[in-house]
């Protein structure tokens, strides 16, 4: 369970450009929920993910993870329970290391990185099976540097690496935005599979309304640091893309566009 309680977040405090993004923002994500978050640029989607992961800090309020207050925990400490996939496929992998080395380093997450051999030979078959499940032929390229792979292949690996260990939360930051439509579909299917299989509590920010509607069991639309749509369960099943588009248009008119 992930709880954002009474969150305040300001930018450029003390300057003429001071801007309040979140004022008393609340969000609770239940165990095993798969939340799709949509919203226009600047609505606070990515800021929310950054607050959850600790890449930036709140100016007020609390963040609870499974009941524990993590508001002042450092970013790297929070990732013990969180997996994150970024928009940029380069963020989730090490380009100068081989596929095998990347898999091995991800496999060791939240264990100690001591002087034992980096690659555990007995795990190689497991890595191969995992890569095989991507259907991208990566299992035959174990010794190829990840930098030589395409964006889609790298993103698939990033997803695999982020979810390899025993994490509880998955944060997806527009993770299909940089991919071509077909690859994006593939990554989205893989995401759905792993979320179901591992029963991960997931927050996915996306600009693709179709994904937001098709995947997940809760949909949130944000605008200016507030949630304007929040549908879960059966209500969410009924939502179609046009419903969201209508709200988008209303907001647009309201903003004077």
């Amino acid at each position: 369970m992930l709880e954002l309680k009474n969150i305040d977040k300001y930018y450029n405090i003390g300057t003429i450009n001071e801007m309040c993004l979140f004022n008393n923002f609340n969000l609770t994500v239940g165990d095993g929920e798969f939340v799709s978050v949509v919203g226009s640029n600047g609505s606070g989607k990515t800021s929310m993910l950054n607050l959850i992961c600790g890449s930036s800090h709140v100016d007020g309020g609390k963040i609870l993870m499974n009941g524990k207050d993590i508001t002042f925990k450092k970013e790297f400490q929070r990732y013990r329970d969180i997996g994150r996939v970024y928009q940029d496929p380069a963020m989730g992998t090490c380009p100068d290391m081989t596929i095998l080395e990347n898999m091995a380093i991800a496999d060791n997450k939240s264990k100690s990185y001591g002087l034992r051999l980096g690659i555990n030979r007995s795990r190689v078959d497991f890595y191969r099976d995992q890569l095989k499940s991507l259907n991208l032929g990566l299992e035959d390229k174990l010794h190829v540097k990840v930098g030589a792979l395409s964006g889609g292949q790298r993103q698939a690996m990033a997803l695999l690496m982020a979810t390899m260990t025993d994490i509880k939360f998955l944060i997806l930051d527009e993770h299909t935005a940089a991919l071509d439509p077909k690859t994006a579909d593939l990554i989205m299917e893989l995401t759905d599979e792993v979320v179901r299989e591992k029963h991960l509590t997931t927050v996915m920010v996306t600009h693709n309304l179709r994904y937001a509607v098709e995947y997940g069991n809760r949909l949130i639309m944000m605008h200016k640091g507030k949630t304007v749509i929040d549908k879960a369960g059966e209500d969410k099943e009924k939502i179609v893309v046009n419903d969201i588009l209508d709200v988008f248009n209303e907001i647009s008119i309201e903003c004077g566009n």
Partner: protein
Amino acid sequence: MGILTGVLEQGFIYGIMALGVYITYKILDFPDLTTDGSFPAGAAITAVLLTGGMNPYLSLVISFAAGMVIGALTGIIHVKFKVRDLLSGIIMMTALYSINLRIAGKANVPLFTQQTVFDNSIVNAVFPESLAPYQTVIVAFVLALIAKLLLDAYMKTKSGFLLRAVGNNETLVTSLAKDIGLVKIVGLAIANGLIAMSGSIMCQQQRFFDISMGTGTVVIGLANVIIGTNVFKNVSFVKATTAVIFGSVVYKGCVAFAISRGMSATDMKFITAFLFLIILIITMDRKKKVKKSA
């Protein structure tokens, strides 16, 4: 022949220093000027230890350990106090100048009769008379080889993986729930350990410590790394560590050549800097930032 063995001796010894610079410059992308202080620190410590009758091999280990402490301090200044990378190195380098003087006691310490890693009862017993002129170069080679193999082995450990990952993609290391700051400190410690050990060996080979022997070390190290990694850029079976030591020998060769063409030994630092510039221009191994502003 004398010139060649001289080039090889110095090339191998500076090669160990270059391995350290390789870690900071190529892996961590950290321009570490501490090098100019940690290299003579290793030498100063060795001069004092050997004068006091310490086993020369043990002095290598002690120098390495001292270098690690120095590197860790640079890392802590940078990571914990958030001082910029270049400035952290400058602070340490400047402070070390005085500290090295304190350690050595004076600006110049000659080693006359003391045993060194090149010249001691064991080595002298092992080497036959016929190989005596090559004794130093062979020992230097073996030491460089050991340093290289140990570093290679380290790079294959989990800790080594993490070090490589930090230079590659800090975000990923954070995602792995690891503190990138700590990894950087460890990397700087190992790098300066190697550099100080190299200084220790240099001191034993030259049989003196001089306070100014560190000046320009970082430039030599960078030149070695850039030559080595560029020459073997497209040769995948040559490890970067091997390439760096090779680069060190080539670089020393260039300097020796310039001196043999009539330049004086006092021009050494100029040659060092000028060659480095030439190498940068030829290999285009400049930072993107510079490219934009140029």
